[in-house]
């Protein structure tokens, strides 16, 4: 009688090494700590957006730093004013972070794509729509 064994890990997409996931997590925590300690403000040492510097337009990420600084100091309304798109996306981004970090931290050998192609393209499309809207006259409240 041969012993009953568990199936081997499923074949699938390669999972990044655990060290990369740990480094990414550490970098995110360090950046969060820096932003919490020194919230971005005009004239601060955080780099301005390249697209905004060259074109004067607001990109979908403009105001992300100020929004993070406001949120980390507890001012959620100010976070919404700086970048409503990313502020409202925080739960989704947290879920994406778990899907990205989970498999490498658990040392899984395989994983499905963390975010389906459809979801990723939907995120891209909403970012583009938001980028257009926040540059339209009359919708300045969407700008940072």
């Amino acid at each position: 009688v041969s012993p009953v064994s568990d199936p081997p890990p499923l074949p699938g997409r390669k999972v990044p090494p655990r060290a990369a996931a740990l480094a990414g997590l550490a970098a995110m925590l360090a950046l969060g700590g820096l932003i919490a300690a020194f919230p971005p403000a005009p004239g601060g040492f955080y780099p301005p957006c390249v697209v905004n510097q060259f074109t004067g337009l607001h990109c979908p990420g403009c105001g992300a730093g100020r929004a993070a600084g406001a949120a980390l100091s507890g001012d959620l309304m100010a976070a919404l004013r700086s970048n409503p798109f990313l502020a409202l996306l925080v739960p989704f981004l947290g879920w994406v972070g778990l899907k990205l970090l989970g498999p490498p931290l658990l040392s899984n050998r395989w994983a499905t794509e963390p975010v389906s192609r459809r979801t990723a393209l939907l995120l891209l499309a909403s970012a583009l729509v938001f980028a257009v809207l926040r540059n339209l006259p009359g919708l300045e409240w969407l700008a940072p």
Partner: protein, 159 residues
């Protein structure tokens, strides 16, 4: 002897070979699904199980039109490469870099090329997407850090 069947990285059930044959006839089981049973070291494509067990011969697998491209054992398609599309999009939004745009374009090609059977093309696009994502990330972080250092030093020296 029942086979465990997996598709898209998930186990979907357990069936005997006869059940799997009729499921394949109805299109419910695919040659590209992975199969495993007690005693096997690795999961193998279901098509290879059919071929090995004889009986109904497996239909020819989809052929890549890049003959030099990577094909898995037995001519069955290799697992899909990671498109990293979500990384490309996040890097573009958060680093706000024009460098993220080629990353998105290459990442978006991966799944469509794979679906057309162009496995080599899918892997090439995945590799290019990865390169552009890393370039965007590194350029973004490095220029940001240099800017912060420069402004911080300028402020410290009383400019």
């Amino acid at each position: 002897m029942k086979y465990l069947i997996a598709r898209d990285g998930q186990q979907i059930g357990e069936w005997t070979l006869d059940e799997l044959r009729s499921m394949r006839a109805m299109g419910q089981a695919r040659d590209t699904d992975y199969a495993w049973r007690q005693g096997m070291a690795e999961w193998i494509p279901l098509g290879q199980v059919f071929a090995a067990e004889g009986g109904a011969a497996a239909p020819p697998p989809p052929q890549s039109w890049h003959p030099a491209g990577p094909t898995a054992v037995g001519g069955f398609p290799p697992p899909p490469p990671s498109s990293n599309l979500i990384w490309a999009i996040l890097v573009t939004i958060f680093c706000c870099l024009p460098l993220g745009i080629p990353a998105i374009i290459f990442a978006a090609q991966v799944d469509s090329k794979y679906a057309m059977g162009d496995y080599a093309g899918a892997q090439a696009s995945a590799a290019k997407a990865k390169t552009w994502i890393l370039v965007s990330l590194i350029v973004g972080l490095l220029s940001g850090a240099l800017y912060g250092l420069f402004v911080g030093l300028a402020a410290a020296s009383g400019m």
